[in-house]
Amino acid sequence: MKRSDLLTGELEDLYRARYRHFLRVATAIVGDETSGHDAVQDGFAQALREQGSFRGDGPLEAWVWRTIVNAALAARRRELARRASPEAIDAADSNGHATDDSGVRAWVAALPERQRLTVYLRYYADLDYRSISEVLGIEVGTVSATLSSAHQALRRSLEEVKQ
């Protein structure tokens, strides 16, 4: 059996086992479940097409997560461009998410992109720090620092609400 066949099987197994988590993160990034699903499908399709570029020096799942996150970010950018009308801009916050959320989710949505992605990957995908570092292409220590910064920002938001 060719290596590509083996990888295809592993990709399918991963898709079936973790689809819901991929969908959850992609939906959080893009803003709606339909677009999130498209991002997951496009991300896995890209992983299938480009599986020859997977060098195997890290977990397959982390490599796939990277394609999914990139697909979701690209989808969000396309959506922002499509909605680039004054009304749409007024209805969205600086991160491109509609401002109908309140509480923690809105606060997370307002975080800088790296912090936001780290939070999503940690709490929505349940990835450990090493996997997150491989997905985002940053050091493990940076993941820890980024998550800590996100916690601080969220704590400030929480305290502001309490006051």
Binding site: M1, D5, Q46, R49, L154
Partner: protein, 251 residues
């Protein structure tokens, strides 16, 4: 864990719970990747095509019933791994009205085998209505929720260049083996692995010798045959020309 971390987790969970897998559709992924014509999984099973190999050895075999087949004691068979359990139990989520298989209880590994050098397991889970679902690791599966299919073969392939595998089950308790007859008239005898109550069915996995599966190599007829040579039940698989497009595997 910090107070903020706890708050993040609880709030995110409350506002964005883990979505269901209704939309999951691997066939769509293949199509988007432009490889749908090479990556084919086929199944004649009616309820799902959720996730085949030379036959087999099994984990726990006990002599029983005076039959020549292998018999697996259901409650002694090892439990399937977590993701497989989740896969079975997610089949009900988002299933069309009346189509949910109603998987009930623990999925168990009833056969271990190898296809093209790769170990695969055949997992089975009972349904509430007395039937069962099966899943051949990597290749696919399906359900006979109500035990309505006396002989139920499925055909799957990893790629169009093979390996092609037929797998499935037979219900007649007196079946001794499965006779697979190909379109060119040749046939082969495939052993059965019977699983005890509450499954009460014989399972088979067979790797089709031809990797390109030309029309003459098509496994056309499947017969459950008794030890005296009596044909107990049969089923057929349509030829390639009439096989529908790969099934979407959304539940």
């Amino acid at each position: 864990m910090t107070d903020v971390e706890q708050l993040i987790i609880s709030e995110l969970e409350r506002m964005s719970p883990l979505p269901d897998a209704t939309r999951a559709n691997w066939a769509d992924v293949l199509q988007r990747a432009g490889v749908a014509r090479r990556q084919v999984r086929l199944s004649r099973r009616p309820i799902l095509a959720f996730a085949g190999a030379l036959v087999v050895c099994l984990a726990i075999a006990v002599p029983a019933f005076g039959l020549s087949q292998d018999v697996v004691s259901w409650f002694s068979a090892p439990a399937a791994p977590g993701p497989a359990q989740e896969g079975f139990h997610s089949l009900d989520v988002g299933a069309p009205a009346g189509m949910a298989p109603g998987v009930s209880g623990t999925a168990r590994s009833v056969m271990d085998t190898a296809v093209a050098g790769k170990d695969v397991h055949l997992w089975v889970a009972p349904t509430k209505s007395g039937g069962f679902c099966l899943y051949l690791e990597t290749y696919g599966g399906g359900c006979d929720r109500d035990r309505s299919l006396t002989v139920s073969p499925g055909l799957a392939a990893h790629t169009m260049s093979g390996p092609w595998v037929v797998f499935g089950d037979v219900l007649p308790a007196k079946a001794d083996h499965l006779q697979v007859t190909f379109a060119n008239g040749e046939s082969v005898s495939v052993p059965l692995t019977f699983v005890s109550d509450p499954i009460n069915a014989g399972f088979f996995v067979y790797q089709v010798p031809s990797s390109d599966l030309a029309a003459s190599d098509w496994p056309a007829t499947f017969a459950a045959v008794g030890s005296d040579g009596t044909t107990l039940a049969t089923a057929t698989l349509s030829g390639l020309a009439s096989v529908p497009a790969p099934l979407a595997d959304s539940k």
